[in-house]
Symmetry: C2
Subunit: 191 residues, 2 copies
């Protein structure tokens, strides 16, 4: 990807994670990067188009983490899922506990924008899908009950994490994360 485009996306992610979509103007992104307006509109058709690329950039990082953790054959399937969430939490910590970008933009925009609503639901469904596949392995190895609805459980876990991420953003700390992971992993393995 063009270096300027990448720089704009990275700056947009930082700005929109903190302040949201509507409170960040294209001018804010230009000021943060020193990129001229013409260059911005060379790479992006509009602010909406830009934000969709920012979401893609965020999701690319999530996919890289999903891949690094969930396909790690040295770890048991449930441990891999825990590794994924530990990795997400480490990213949140580095950002000062601003929570999940998908949750933040999803809440802000999905009431009024079908484009963002479908985009962000799709991103969360992808994450849930990846975790569901790993839960399938855990079911095969007998680490979770054979009767487990792995698709449903993956959604439960992702949604509970999103709620914890909201509380983390509100409280600006990591407190909500361990309890939710402990609760789910204990409940799943108690069979």
């Amino acid at each position: 990807m063009h270096a300027t485009k990448q720089r704009l996306i990275l700056a947009g992610l930082g700005l929109m994670l903190a302040r949201g979509y509507n409170a960040v103007g294209v001018q804010d992104v230009l000021s943060a990067t020193g990129v001229p307006k013409g260059s911005f509109y060379h790479h992006f058709a509009s602010k909406e188009d830009f934000a969709l690329h920012v979401i893609d950039g965020y999701q690319a990082n999530v996919h890289a983490l999903l891949h690094a953790t969930l396909t790690n054959r040295k770890r048991a399937p449930l441990d891999r899922i825990r590794d994924f969430f530990d990795g997400v939490r480490a990213a949140y910590a580095a950002e000062g506990y601003l929570g999940c970008f998908l949750g933040a933009l999803g809440q802000e925009l999905s009431g009024a924008s079908e484009v963002f609503r479908h985009k962000i639901e799709g991103c969360l469904a992808q994450i849930s899908g990846g975790i569901g596949c790993c839960l399938d392995e855990a079911r095969t190895t007998g680490d979770i009950a054979a009767s487990t609805d792995t698709t449903g459980m993956a959604d439960l876990l992702v949604n509970a994490w999103e709620g914890a991420a909201l509380r983390s953003r509100l409280a600006r700390n990591s407190h909500p994360f361990d309890p939710v992971l402990d609760f789910y992993f204990t409940a799943m393995t108690k069979h």
Copy 2:
């Protein structure tokens, strides 16, 4: 409360639940209600002050529902908590599944505004506190394990609900709610 003030708050809740805080201007609220600008600023010092009153209005409804359900002695403590969430879901359904106003505004604003961050965290903590008291009763009656950390469990439940509300807003349906309630109530009573 003054009828005009109440009308403005109600309109603000509808507009901000759908579109968020930053995308709704004072003019939108005036247009929706036919209230003149001078009257708005007679009741509210600023748009921020207005939104804080809208949150108070939302939270007053939540408190009324908490009171109606959690103090209902005809029902067992855990059933009362389920009644509360069923009531919240019924409200979401009536609004077309736009999710939780506290979650929506909390995500949009808490990265940049300490005022909204503390306000909304306080609202969620109040809900969690009410549920925690009811869980104390469930512990006393033996419906959940004597070892249950009721404060922690109430937070887990509220946070998981918030995550489900996000997914409901994204998918515009009620699908995420039954699984999360079933999972928690099953896990809590399995002892």
